[in-house]
Symmetry: C4
Subunit: 208 residues, 4 copies
């Protein structure tokens, strides 16, 4: 069990991270731009515009679900922490960097999805996920070592299963990143499927 | 009663949701644009501009009150939760998606309120509310089932009354959505009246 | 003393309000625009631009200090609350509306400070403060009545002094609002002086 | 030890500050602009654009790490506080002013890094850090005095070491500020090295 001060320490790191997740997830909407009414009247302008914005909706939904899953997993990760130290605060903060960065590649991909150089936008998009998943692995490993040093007992089987899962997710995102250079649209749908696939256990794992 | 860990779990979900509500409600202001001073002096430019922005003020107020009511009701909903699970975290997160999306239809409707295609902007605006109200029903039902499985005792009469209220609100928003295609301005005022009407019990329900 | 549930209720209202204050205070920076480099080289472009932005800095500082003082006072106000009800949640939320709106009049005044119609921008700016101060009075009065009904004992002398202070602040902001139509620049400096003046007791009131 | 009310008071100041740090750190991303596709097709437009944005990435990373370190240190600072007063709330709020301001100089420097007047943008950038570091010293000193008056016992050796460290950081930022007028690019890299250097002890200070 944690004592009062340690509890408060962990809570404050979680609260800061939760805030960053919450603001980041809310800023994603800025990727969906509101048009100005053109000077010359054009019938069906709004419907055409709204339909043409489908890449923005798609990248928005992918990023939203991904940040949401990250938040849930971050939650799970910090339940393991007993006595946080400064290095954990710093590493956790670094992991938040690509999260706060996400509105940029999300918007960029929405604009350049049909551009001849779409693969670079897709690479930046999936690359951000690779970075987040990679830093997530790093923080996870750090906590494992920290807990060993502090003598915190953990369920070895469960820990091993979770560690494997996190590494597999990292490898899958690395795969979408490599794919982005060959077939950008495919990479985006892979990111989407990955987000949906990773949500399934959350939904399956219902109250029993 | 909840124990410490469950209390902390519920608190963290609430805190994340509250953050998203708070950031979402504050980002709505971005729908009200600051003009640039025109190169050629034009007497009364500012007053004309400020008056012409009335749709932005109206949609802003509707969205603000609606998000506020959602937050209050979310509050009420999570007081029922004893032992949150991953699926609840995920469903609750999904419910926040249309909340974070709101600045987009709010701005869009403010711009296109007098456009021949205003009905699509109004449909997107009221459609977001339908989505939120629908997901709210979903999360509410999920909590009801979860509480039954966990053996949490609830006041059946009160629960039934609240469930009915939530479904009626969903039906009313569905009504404004259908109306938006026929008479967009009417739909906006219906959303406004609905927001005001739903605020009344909050105000009536004073300290006794 | 509050019990656990009431404590949690009050905390959640405070947390939501604090979030809105924090996001609102941070969004104020969007009023200070970053220029694009002009196509034709112009010596001293940046310094001229930075100097020309003084109204944006001034309105930013006034709004920042005012929101900060509001947050501190909101803090003081909610220390009085024992058992919050729905009406308080709603009224408190309404009070946050002009707070979230502040980035708009702050930017508007920064742009139109030297415009012939500056008085309307100044009126909107100080008018927002009047609205906040007025709603603050309303929530304060509501808490006073609620506490009476709930039988919460309060120090009558201290309460009376605080109530008077809040009403005087409201009257002072009403004064700056009226003045804005006659002499807009004067109104802005009055808002600035008022913000500084209201900060003084906070600073004087040091640890003893 | 703190009692319940004081604990709650300190927590609420921390929560407000954490929120401002979190929103501020997330708004930094707005400095990285998404381009619009040019009307005339230009091969390699996106890659050229992405490469040309390196100053935005650099200033983003510097500001992100700096705000993160500030947050960690703010954390450390408020662990010393036993009984916060209004003046501390106000001073702490003032310290947050340059933090919320950071997106402006960060964007400005990203745009003007190669401009003949880059030194002014660099001065504003490093000047913001000087202001934050200076106000940090002020709040630190205030807490030291407050704790003395309240009779809070502190480890004199550790306190002296920390005070010295904070003053040295302030002096180092003052140095980068002076340098910005002579060699702006050097100043930026100095800010970067300083951010990295200040992160090292956080990483070294691992669980033992």
């Amino acid at each position: 069990m944690r004592n009062g001060t340690e509890e408060r320490e962990t809570s404050r790191i979680e609260a800061f991270s939760d805030n960053v997740f919450a603001v980041g997830i809310t800023l994603l909407v800025l990727a969906i731009k509101v048009p100005t009414i053109p000077a010359t009247p054009e019938p069906g302008f709004l419907t055409k515009y709204l339909v043409s914005q489908w890449p923005a909706y798609l990248t928005y939904i992918i990023s939203f679900i991904t940040v949401l899953l990250m938040w849930i997993n971050h939650h799970m990760m910090f339940q393991r922490v007993r006595k946080p130290d400064h290095a954990l605060m710093f590493l956790n903060g670094l992991m938040l960097l690509p999260v706060t960065l996400l509105p940029f590649p999300t918007s960029l991909l929405a604009v350049f999805i049909a551009h001849p150089q779409a693969r670079y936008a897709a690479a930046l998009f999936s690359g951000s996920y690779v970075l987040i998943a990679g830093l997530y692995c790093l923080v996870w490993t750090y906590i494992t070592r920290m807990n060993k040093k502090q003598g915190v007992e953990e369920d070895a089987v469960r820990l091993h299963r979770q560690t494997t899962k996190i590494r597999v997710v990292f490898a899958l995102y690395l795969g979408t990143f490599c794919w982005s250079f060959i077939y950008p649209l495919g990479c985006i749908f892979a990111c989407f499927l990955l987000a949906v696939y990773l949500s399934l256990p959350e939904l399956r794992n219902t109250a029993e």
